[in-house]
Structure formats: structure tokens, C-alpha cells
């Protein structure tokens, strides 16, 4: 075989060896001489103004280099505080102990203000305003109504700003429906983005550049933003981020946004530039819990069906708790759960109304699924309710209505609002394969038929998640270098925070060039050495970066074939690259080595290396249906999740949890990586059942669960995850892949709630699903909240 192939194989993780030897350098592992340490003074009140602040005693403490407050660093600190844990001051000192001691010496006079700590309270007319002069409850500014649907292509041609997202005639839709199923206040309790590595950075000004050592999900994006807030040129920063200890959205800072807690960057940056000394600023686990990315929402869903179960109309209302001015964008992704995408097959009428609501809690920002889990929790529990009420098997009801390849993504993303063809689905196949794996037909029983103390339940939910953007903005770049010894380097800034993109992108290069995967090296550790790459978010790496990597490799190959053709006295199109060199396709024995293809090197030789490059910024021509630029193919993550569990009706305790995750990934470029991604279904389990709720003391706004003891994440003990991987070739990718990653946690809350219902006939629509709520639902204990 002249060509090697690594696609579809479990090749070893590209930078894996360092990860298992302890040599992998996460940002905190860089040991910089004379590194100063930072500690942050945080607000003890959920709403307050700083009347006065005296830092003189702190500044006088030996070993203190700098005390930062709103007085000397107004670009980083504010005099008004919006949540317990908000920034008051920071001390930079010779060591952590000195910095902590200095924090104690800062005297602050606060004026406490009225505060509001829950979504419900914040929406009341007389609620205290989190930001003075601004109502807590905001209508989303980006709603658009889609119309002018082409009867042939089914694409929408017109978008009009309006009071909600949607299409069709919602009133008429419900009038004509045979069944209307409605559920309200489906509540996703605030919970935290998981990551083993807490956030932070070390910065060192080396006389020429600010060297920034930190984790990252998109180091170029972060560098641009940091340069802007520090007021220095983008050329004056080098962002160094070879390893990131988990991200799940939470390692995507927004330094320009004062509300969003990525303050470690601005604090360390300002201090380092002013002191001209290296500065470390890191969040402790407690700080991480107080201000890490979180999510929470409440949604209402109303769905209209025909007698046979055909879903025709959907009304969806989403209230996102942004807390103290957080991210208002996640609800856009909740649209994926609606008739705009997941149920696009039959849904003719859609209204989706989004509001975002501020409270005096730590800022909420989207993470894994970015609004999609919240949307799916609402829609997929309502669909399940419908299945029972219509007397249709929950799997069959979904098979009848779920999106198919070629159905229309209505255009939910306000960045473009372009509707497009869904390039691949396979949800029906996932439902079949998953049903078979869990023996759905044999084991599924109506809850009315269950009477034992411990009852097994089987639940299902389907899902879809974005995997790229429609139209412009799929920006990512790659450089592929071929050296004369036949080794190859992929130069690519895409972050690998565990999701495996460094490995997968190198597999794409190896496959394109027909060389062994082991020969592909990776240059990815800083911004100075790499071109721009997309933010690793929305599980888009395989698709957006994949095209850039593939085309850069093709570009390099093309150049090499031209070189070789001269030496071989052949035409480039007669040649191909492979394991041992460039060969003639018709006669693979006619081959020259890479070295010979290059010819002489050194002072009198050259070229010395080939540089292939590609900038992906538009839909690739292979992502256009019939080559028509208006007919865009857009890939999705998609599949079906089944959960089996036992509920003890005397204690309310859930056990024997087994998640079966069936996902169509188009092509599993690396099956082990795919399995690993699907195992993150546990993040949904964390939010569903581990009492994984940011419990706040209503009296004072303090987080009661600021550590990994009280706020629990899944260990190896909580459940098993079984994976069913489907590979239905996706035409929008060079190797038929689509995406996998964030989707795994999207259906879990719904599948879990549905499994509990199937076990005991109690519909829980408020997370976390605690034993208390189960016993309340069974009527075995009285509700605490409903008393009086």
C-alpha cells in the first residue's frame, strides 16, 4: 500500500504522552523566576456600593507590590458591586500568604442595597433593579420572524425583526391541532461548568512582548480582546496555551465585558505591564465556584399535534437567568430544540420568545450545549408527556417528527438568520439502534403497571446541537508544512482541552497526504507560531477547522507534486503522495523519496520546506447543495439518549443509572475520541440528580456550595455510559464526519426526567431531581415550599 490511512482508527492521542507522564505544561506549571502572586478581595454583599476604600495599610505591608481598586484601576474594578464575590480589590505581592494578609488590611465602607436572588423574584414589578435604571427582565433584542418560504426549496427568504422568533401562524396552528400539550416553568437550576483546572494566568513582560500563559478555548480571539483592554497592539502579546485542563465553555473569557468573570486576565495584565514584573493571578476552587460559568433557566412549551401524532405547531418561551449581567446569547441555541431544527420535519408554525433576566447572583454564561440543554429539557419532557397522553410510544412519536437529512434549519442564529439544509440526521436510526441496545420493546412498560417498591424506568430524549455556522464566520486557518525528510507539521491554533482535536486534525493531514499519522507533528502552543483558529466551542472543530486543515494539506501536497513532477518527468496529476514518497498512481513502484522530490538543500538548494495554507471563512463549495450558494448544507450533532434507572419509592433514592448514548457522527474519525465525548453525558446527570444546584442563602446571597465536597460531580461510581456510534456519511465534510462533543449533555435532563416518569408516574420538571421531590411527587411527604 503506497498510502497510509489513519481515519477511523484509534491512533494514540497526539500530545498524549506528556499528559500521562506529568510533563504536560498547563499554565500554572510554568515556573517563572520572581513570579508575584495575586489574591482578590471579593464582595461580601449581593448588592452594594463602595463608599470608601482605604488600602494604605495593605500597601505598607512588606512584600506587597501593588494594591488595585476602582480608584487606581477603573478599567478593571467598579465601585458598585452586583453579587457576592464581585471584585472589590486585588493585591499583588511576593507570595500568596503576603497577598492574603494584605487583603485583611484593606478597609472598605459599603452601602448595602436591596437585592434579588431568584428568577421569579427578579421578574416581579417591584423587584430591586440589579443595574439601576434597567429593568431586570429583558426582551431579547434579536428576535426575527421568518417568512416568504420557497414552496420548492422550503427555505425562508425573508426575515423581519419582531417580538419573537418563528414562522407560520401560531394561532391558526393551535386552532387546527387535535391535541395541545402544554408544560410550564420547566426549571433548570443554576449549575456550574465543570473543569478540573481552575482559571487563571501568569504574565511576563520580556522587554518586547507580554507573554501570557493561560488555558484557552481560542487563543487568538482572547489575544485580540486582551490587547484591546490593555491598550497595546495585538503584536505585543504572545498567548501561550499548549494545554487546557478542561473547558466546556468555561475557558472562553470575555475580557471586554465587565460583568463576565474573566478578570484574572485584566488584573494580571495591568499589574504586569505597570510593575514590569511577572504576575500570577489564579482563581481558587472557591472563587471558581463563585464566579465560574453557570447556566439556569425556566421555559414553557406548548405543542400542537394532529391525531396521528404529527407535530404541527410549537410555542416556546425561554427565560434565561443571566444573573449579574451575564451572557444573553445562550437562548439562541435553545432554538435548536424547537420546530426550527429538531422538529423541523412537520412543524409549520413556530413562536419562540426569549427573555433574559438579571439577578444578584454570580454572572451566568453558557457552557456545554450553550442553551441547548435548557431547550431540550423543556421540549423533550413535553414531547414525552405528549406521547403518554396521545398513547403513542415515546420512541415512535419522535421518529415520526424528528428532523431528517434535507429538512430545513429555519435559521435560528441571529448572526445570520440564514435558513439552510440539514446535511445529516440519522436520529431515527439512533432511536432504532438505541432501542435495540436497551431492549426498549421488551422492557418498556407503562408506569401504571409498576407496583413494586423499587421500580425501573426507561426514558428517551433526542437532541441536536450546532456544529458550525451557516454562511460567513466559519473562520479558521491552517498551515501544513512538508519537510524534505518527509515529516510534516500541522500549524494550527485550535485548542485541545480534552476533546481530541489535536489528534483528529493530525489524522486529517495524514490521511490527505497518505502518510503515517506518526509522521505528522503539531505546532499549536502559542499565537506567535500559529495562524488564527476558530474558538473551540459548539463542537465545530472537526467541521470548521477540519476544512481548513484538509485544504491546507491539499495545498501543500499540490506544491510537492509540482516539485516531484519535474524530477520524475511526469505531470503532477499523474502523481500522489504516500508513506515512502511521491509515486505514480498508475504504477506505484515508480516512486521518489520526499528528499529526492525536494532535491538539494542548504546554501545552494531549496526550497527547504513546502508551506500549504488555507483560510476557511465561507461555506466550502462542497457544503453547497447542487453548487448553489443560496443552498447551504449545515451539519449538526444529533442522536438519541436512553436512560435506565431504578427509583426506590420509599426513600426517593435513584440507583442503577445507565445512560445509552446513540449518536450519528457521520464518520468516527477516531472512535475512541468519539466514545470519550459521548461519556460527557454525565454532565447532564450531574445537573439532573447530584443535587448539583448552586444553592444560595436567601438572606445574604452567599453560595452555600462553593467547593467540590458540597457541589458534587459524577465519579466513576454514579452511572455507566454505553455508546452506540452510527456512521451515516455526512456530505458536508471531507471525510464524512459531522461533530460530537457538546451534544452528549443536551438530552440528559429530559431523558432522566422521562425515565423517572416511566418508573413512578411522577413528572419532575424542576432540577435537581432530589429524593425529596420524588417523595413529594409520590405523595409520601408534604412539600416544604407549598406549606402555609
Amino acid at each position: 500500500m503506497p498510502r497510509s490511512s489513519s481515519i477511523g482508527k484509534d491512533v494514540i492521542q497526539k500530545d498524549g504522552r506528556a499528559r500521562v507522564t506529568g510533563e504536560a505544561k498547563f499554565y500554572a506549571d510554568y515556573q517563572i523566576g520572581g513570579l508575584l502572586q495575586t489574591r482578590i478581595l471579593r464582595s461580601p454583599y449581593p448588592a452594594a456600593d463602595i463608599l470608601s476604600i482605604d488600602t494604605s495599610r495593605a500597601e505598607a505591608l512588606p512584600g506587597v507590590s501593588l494594591v488595585m481598586t476602582h480608584l487606581n484601576y477603573p478599567q478593571a474594578f467598579r465601585s458598585s458591586l452586583y453579587y457576592v464575590g464581585d471584585l472589590v480589590a486585588a493585591v499583588v505581592a511576593k507570595d500568596t500568604e503576603t497577598a492574603e494578609e494584605a487583603l485583611e488590611l484593606i478597609t472598605v465602607e459599603y452601602e448595602q442595597k436591596k437585592f434579588v436572588l431568584s428568577l421569579e423574584d427578579a421578574m416581579k414589578e417591584d423587584a430591586p433593579e440589579v443595574f439601576e435604571g434597567e429593568k431586570n427582565n429583558h426582551d431579547w433584542e434579536f428576535h426575527a420572524f421568518l417568512s416568504d418560504r420557497d414552496p420548492e426549496t422550503r427555505l425562508f427568504k425573508t426575515k423581519t425583526p419582531g417580538p419573537y422568533n418563528g414562522f407560520g401562524d401560531i394561532e391558526k396552528g393551535f386552532e387546527e391541532a387535535d391535541y395541545i400539550i402544554e408544560k410550564s416553568n420547566i426549571s433548570y437550576a443554576l449549575c456550574k461548568a465543570p473543569a478540573m483546572e481552575s482559571r487563571g494566568c501568569s504574565m511576563n513582560y520580556d522587554g518586547v512582548k507580554l507573554q501570557v500563559y493561560t488555558h484557552s478555548q481560542g487563543m487568538h480571539d482572547e489575544k485580540y480582546a486582551l490587547a484591546q483592554v490593555l491598550g497595546i497592539g495585538q503584536d505585543k502579546i504572545n498567548y501561550v496555551s499548549p494545554y487546557t485542563g478542561g473547558g466546556f465553555g468555561g475557558k472562553n473569557p470575555a475580557v471586554q465585558n465587565r460583568n463576565i468573570p474573566s478578570h484574572y486576565l485584566i488584573i494580571a495584565g495591568l499589574a504586569c505591564l505597570d510593575l514590569k514584573k511577572p504576575v500570577h493571578c489564579a482563581y481558587s476552587r472557591e472563587e471558581e465556584m463563585v464566579c465560574a460559568w453557570s447556566r439556569g433557566s425556566s421555559v414553557d412549551v406548548k405543542i400542537g399535534f394532529k391525531k396521528d401524532g404529527t407535530l404541527t405547531t410549537m410555542d416556546y418561551t425561554h427565560r434565561q437567568e443571566t444573573c449579574s449581567g451575564g451572557d444573553k446569547w445562550p437562548p439562541k441555541n435553545a432554538m435548536l430544540a424547537t420546530g426550527a431544527v429538531l422538529y423541523s420535519r412537520n412543524c409549520e408554525n413556530l413562536r419562540a420568545k426569549i427573555n433574559y433576566i438579571n439577578t444578584n447572583r454570580f454572572t451566568a454564561v453558557g457552557w456545554q450545549g450553550y442553551g441547548v440543554p435548557e431547550g431540550h429539557f423543556g421540549v423533550e419532557t413535553t414531547m414525552d408527556t405528549a406521547a403518554y397522553e396521545l398513547g403513542i410510544d415515546p420512541v415512535e412519536l419522535r421518529k415520526k417528527n424528528c428532523m431528517r437529512a434535507g429538512d430545513i434549519d429555519a435559521g435560528w442564529d441571529p448572526l445570520t438568520y440564514i435558513s439552510a439544509y440539514i446535511s445529516g440526521s440519522g436520529i431515527e436510526e439512533c432511536l432504532d439502534a438505541g432501542s435495540e441496545r436497551v431492549s426498549w420493546k421488551d422492557k418498556w412498560q407503562h408506569p401504571d403497571k409498576k407496583a413494586s417498591r423499587v421500580r425501573n424506568g426507561l426514558g428517551v430524549a433526542i437532541f441536536t446541537m450546532g456544529a458550525g455556522r451557516v454562511g460567513q464566520g466559519n473562520s479558521s486557518e491552517a498551515i501544513v508544512k512538508i519537510y524534505h525528510d518527509g515529516s510534516v507539521a500541522l500549524v494550527c491554533a485550535l485548542s485541545d482541552m480534552g476533546q481530541g482535536q489535536h489528534t483528529v486534525q493530525c489524522q486529517i493531514v495524514a490521511e490527505t497526504l497518505g502518510i503515517p499519522y506518526e509522521r505528522v507533528g503539531l505546532v499549536a502552543h502559542d499565537t506567535d507560531s500559529t495562524p488564527f483558529a476558530t474558538l473551540a466551542a459548539g463542537s465545530c472543530g472537526t467541521w470548521i477547522q477540519g476544512w481548513a486543515t484538509y485544504e491546507a494539506a491539499r495545498d501543500a501536497k499540490k506544491q510537492l507534486l509540482v516539485l516531484a513532477a519535474e524530477k520524475m518527468n511526469r505531470k503532477p496529476e499523474e502523481l500522489d503522495t504516500g508513506t515512502n514518497g511521491v509515486f505514480v498512481i498508475a504504477d506505484p513502484k515508480e516512486i521518489i523519496s520526499y528528499q529526492d522530490a525536494f532535491g538539494a538543500i542548504g546554501h545552494y538548494g531549496g526550497p527547504h520546506e513546502i508551506i500549504g495554507i488555507y483560510v476557511n471563512n465561507n461555506p466550502h463549495e462542497r457544503c453547497l447543495k447542487d453548487g448553489n450558494p443560496e443552498h447551504i448544507l449545515i451539519p449538526k450533532e444529533k442522536g438519541a439518549q436512553f436512560i435506565s434507572l431504578d427509583v426506590d419509592t420509599e426513600t426517593g433514592i435513584i440507583s442503577n443509572i445507565r445512560i445509552t448514548m446513540a449518536q450519528n457522527v457521520g464518520r468516527a474519525l477516531n472512535p475512541k475520541i468519539v466514545e470519550g465525548q459521548l461519556s460527557t453525558s454525565r454532565h447532564g446527570l450531574d445537573n439532573a440528580v447530584l443535587a448539583n444546584d448552586c444553592i444560595v442563602d436567601k438572606r445574604n446571597g452567599w453560595l452555600m456550595t462553593p467547593n467540590l465536597v458540597d457541589y458534587r460531580f459524577s465519579t466513576a461510581l454514579e452511572c455507566d455510559v454505553d455508546t452506540v456510534i452510527l456512521e451515516i456519511f455526512d456530505p458536508s465534510h471531507p471525510f464524512g464526519a459531522s461533530a460530537c462533543g457538546e451534544g452528549a449533555a443536551c438530552p440528559t435532563l429530559a431523558a432522566f426526567s422521562n425515565a423517572i416518569y416511566n418508573a413512578i408516574g411522577v413528572r419532575l420538571l424542576e432540577t435537581p431531581f432530589t429524593p425529596e421531590k420524588i417523595l413529594e411527587g409520590l405523595g409520601k411527604i408534604q412539600s416544604k415550599t407549598k406549606k402555609k
Binding site: 500521562v20 498547563f26 483546572e197 494545554y243 480534552g498 465519579t715 466513576a716
Partner: protein, 171 residues
């Protein structure tokens, strides 16, 4: 000479200790309240030991103390004098990965890799005590280690594969 906990030093004052880490004696100047994880990372430049929770709740800082898996963020460095301390950096010998590390690499046991050193050290302690653990025994032994990438299926496979490698003559 080994210091004992009875010798309480005033805050800020440092003392000389010698820790026995990965087969070597390392002389260090430390403060009484410094944790072992801090001293390993900052004093010994052994940054493979990760700190993630400061509460002994996640296992990222797991090291072996006289063969027993312990969270280094919960141990005072000065109390480890005279004990045999093993960290992730002590596993690879002459450029040859330890069988547990090999298994981790082959089974894709690391996603982001931040928890891997801790898991690998816990596994080393487990397999020394129980060379052929079943699934439940593995889950129980690893129950104190968190992997927030949720990579537990691969991790359990890696432990089993490591057990086989060691049985076949690995270390």
C-alpha cells in the same frame, strides 16, 4: 533529622527538611503550613502533581506515601519527612513508560489530562494491593478521583489493561 509536628514554627519562618521523593533525597527550605502538593510543585519542580480543589475532594494531587495513595493537598510537607514519596514523575524509567502510563495512552485514559497523574497514582496503589481488580473494585478505588471530562469508561479499561500488562511482567 526528622522534624515532628510538635516543633511548631512561627508563621513566616522556614526550616530545612529533606524529603525522599521518587528515590532521591531533596533538601528544602519550607514553612510549617506548606502542603506537600505546594512543596512538590514549587520546591521540587514536580508540577505533574496537580492542585484542583484544595479540599482533598478531587484526587488530582494524589501521590503515594509509603505506597498508599494520598491527596497531597491535604498533607503537610514537614510531616512527610522520612517517608517514601512517589509522584507521577517517578514512574517513567529510562524513557520507558510505566505499564499504567502505557495503558492510559493506549486506552485514551486522558482527555484533558489534568486528572491523569492523580488517577494513575491511585491505580498504582490499587494494583499493588489488588493485581486483578474487577469493575466494582476499580470504581471503588477510583471513587475519590474526579475526571470532569467524564472519561470513566476509558479509565476503567486502562486500569484493566494495566493490570494485564503488569501480570505479564511489567512493573
Amino acid at each position: 533529622m526528622a522534624k515532628t509536628t510538635e516543633n511548631i514554627l512561627p508563621s513566616g519562618e522556614k526550616e530545612h527538611v529533606t524529603l525522599h521523593v521518587n528515590g532521591e533525597d531533596i533538601s528544602l527550605l519550607i514553612e510549617a503550613h506548606w502542603t506537600l502538593s505546594k512543596v512538590l510543585r514549587n520546591g521540587c519542580s514536580l508540577t505533574g502533581t496537580k492542585e484542583a480543589c484544595d479540599a482533598g475532594a478531587c484526587g488530582a494531587c494524589t501521590v503515594l506515601i509509603d505506597g498508599i495513595a494520598r491527596p497531597a493537598c491535604m498533607l503537610l510537607a514537614r510531616e512527610q519527612v522520612g517517608k517514601k514519596i512517589e509522584t507521577i514523575e517517578g514512574l517513567e524509567k529510562n524513557g520507558q513508560l510505566h505499564p499504567i502510563q502505557e495503558a492510559w495512552l493506549e486506552e485514551y485514559g486522558a482527555q484533558c489530562g489534568f486528572c491523569s497523574p492523580g488517577f494513575i497514582m491511585t491505580t498504582k496503589a490499587l494494583l499493588a494491593k489488588n493485581p486483578n481488580p474487577n469493575d466494582d473494585e476499580i470504581k471503588e478505588a477510583l471513587g475519590g478521583n474526579l475526571c470532569l471530562c467524564d472519561n470513566y469508561e476509558h479509565i476503567i479499561l486502562a486500569v484493566k489493561s494495566a493490570a494485564k500488562k503488569i501480570a505479564k511482567g511489567g512493573k
